[in-house]
Every structure is written in structure tokens, then in C-alpha cells.
């Protein structure tokens, strides 16, 4: 894949954004995912956790919420090209 492979958008909010110093970036799934296996949220968390101790800690806190294309999902949700995956702490609006 010459043009950079399978890209998704990662977004981080609230304490997670603050702890990791990033709010939005592109992630290329083809770099680390195995050739034919479908990529799910769990495998993306694993991939991002390799960026360092603070990433590992932030992405493995028990209350972490994951939203795929603006909908809260479990870690087995399958992620495909062009998706937007967000990580954040429990919501406190209202």
C-alpha cells in the first residue's frame, strides 16, 4: 500500500487528552496489524500502548470509554478505514 495504508482518526478528550498531550491524529493500521485479521478496538489500544508508559496507563484505566464513529462501543468492535475512534473518561455533562 504505497499511499500509507489503512488510516483511521484517533481522538482523545478530557483528562486523556491532557495526559497524552494530543487531541487528534491519524493512525495507520497497516503498520502493526496482522495481514488478514480484522482490527478491533482492543488491538488499537494495544498498538497505542506501545507508545510509552503514559499511553499504556491512560488507555488501560478501568473506566475508559471508546466511541467508534460517535457511538460508544465495546473493545471487540471492528475498525475499518476512515473510521473515527475516540477515547475518553466517563462523561460529566449536564
Amino acid at each position: 500500500m504505497v499511499s500509507g495504508g489503512v488510516k483511521i482518526t484517533i481522538k482523545l478528550f478530557s483528562a486523556l487528552r491532557e495526559a497524552l498531550g494530543e487531541s487528534e491524529f491519524q493512525l495507520d493500521l497497516s503498520d502493526t496489524s496482522e495481514a488478514s485479521a480484522p482490527v478491533d478496538v482492543a488491538s488499537i489500544k494495544k498498538q497505542l500502548s506501545q507508545r510509552g508508559a503514559e499511553w499504556k496507563e491512560a488507555l488501560n484505566q478501568p473506566n475508559l470509554v471508546h466511541a467508534l464513529n460517535h457511538k460508544v462501543v465495546f473493545t471487540d468492535a471492528v475498525v475499518t478505514e476512515g473510521d473515527e475512534l475516540a477515547f475518553f473518561p466517563p462523561m460529566t455533562g449536564g
Binding site: 478528550f13 475518553f88 460529566t92 455533562g93 449536564g94
Partner: protein
């Protein structure tokens, strides 16, 4: 039947007039939330509301439609602020128009309870003791769960 996300203060009177003018019904219930001057442990002087705009709009629209279906609403409106807020500023306004009072009141309660746990907003309190992210409340999660168990009506 609409959602507004805005940084400006909520004009409660204008929202009410528009909600009722659009589709008059016999029963109108509203709820307005304001910034508290204290949290569980601290004095609060300011509040910053971070949000995830696209998802917030989708979640609030879905929850308005689902309340409308569940309670047979004639109309509904959800307004949520984001950005910098001061103590006693409006944060959120919901309104529901129905044929009977029980439906209008329960719809407001459902919209508020669901919004608290499902809409992607995060409060950051500022006060004499410094700044901190507000922790989510177990009581909110419990109120939310009542609607799924059928305990609330």
C-alpha cells in the same frame, strides 16, 4: 425536535417560547441546569466544559428522538453549552411538550438522566483549590439504569 450546542448563555424564555410556539400541547415540562458554586469537596468559581461536538450532537439527537417515541411527545428541545462558564450560568436546558403531564415530566427526566451519562461533555472545575476534572457520579449511573430496568416510567 432539535438540539443546540452553544457557547453563549441559554435564553430560557426564548427557548420556551419557541418550543411551545412550534407545536402547542397541553403539557409542557422544562428543566434548567446551572453551574453550582461548589462540587463535592471544593468551592467552584468557574467551569470549563469540554465536548466532542459531532458525537454530542448525535447522542443528544438520538436521545431526544427516543424520549419522543417513548412518551409520545409533540415536541422537544435540548440545549447544552460548552466552553467557559461562571457560577450560576446556565449549562443545560431541556423541554418537552406532550398531551399529558406525566409524559412531559418523565421525558424531561429521561433526557436529563441519559444526557448526564451518555453525552460527551466533561467538566473541569476551577476554584481557590486549583483545577480538576469532575469525576462521574455513581448516583448518575444509577438514575440512568432505572430507565432500562423499567423502574422509572
Amino acid at each position: 425536535m432539535s438540539v443546540a450546542l452553544q457557547s453563549e448563555a441559554i435564553d430560557v424564555a426564548a427557548e420556551y417560547a419557541q418550543l411551545v410556539g412550534d407545536s402547542p400541547g397541553a403539557a409542557v415540562a422544562t428543566f434548567t441546569g446551572y453551574v453550582r458554586d461548589h462540587s463535592d469537596q471544593h468551592a467552584v468559581t468557574k467551569l470549563e466544559l469540554e465536548h466532542y461536538p459531532e458525537m454530542a450532537r448525535k447522542v443528544l439527537e438520538d436521545l431526544g428522538h427516543s424520549a419522543a417515541e417513548r412518551f409520545g411527545l409533540r415536541s422537544w428541545r435540548i440545549v447544552h453549552r460548552f466552553g467557559q462558564l461562571a457560577v450560576l450560568d446556565t449549562i443545560v436546558w431541556v423541554g418537552a411538550v406532550a398531551d399529558h403531564r406525566g409524559e412531559a415530566i418523565s421525558a424531561c427526566e429521561l433526557m436529563m438522566d441519559t444526557l448526564k451519562t451518555d453525552a460527551p461533555f466533561w467538566k473541569r472545575e476551577q476554584g481557590p483549590a486549583g483545577e480538576q476534572w469532575v469525576a462521574s457520579r455513581d448516583s448518575d449511573t444509577e438514575r440512568r439504569a432505572r430507565w432500562q430496568s423499567g423502574e422509572a416510567q
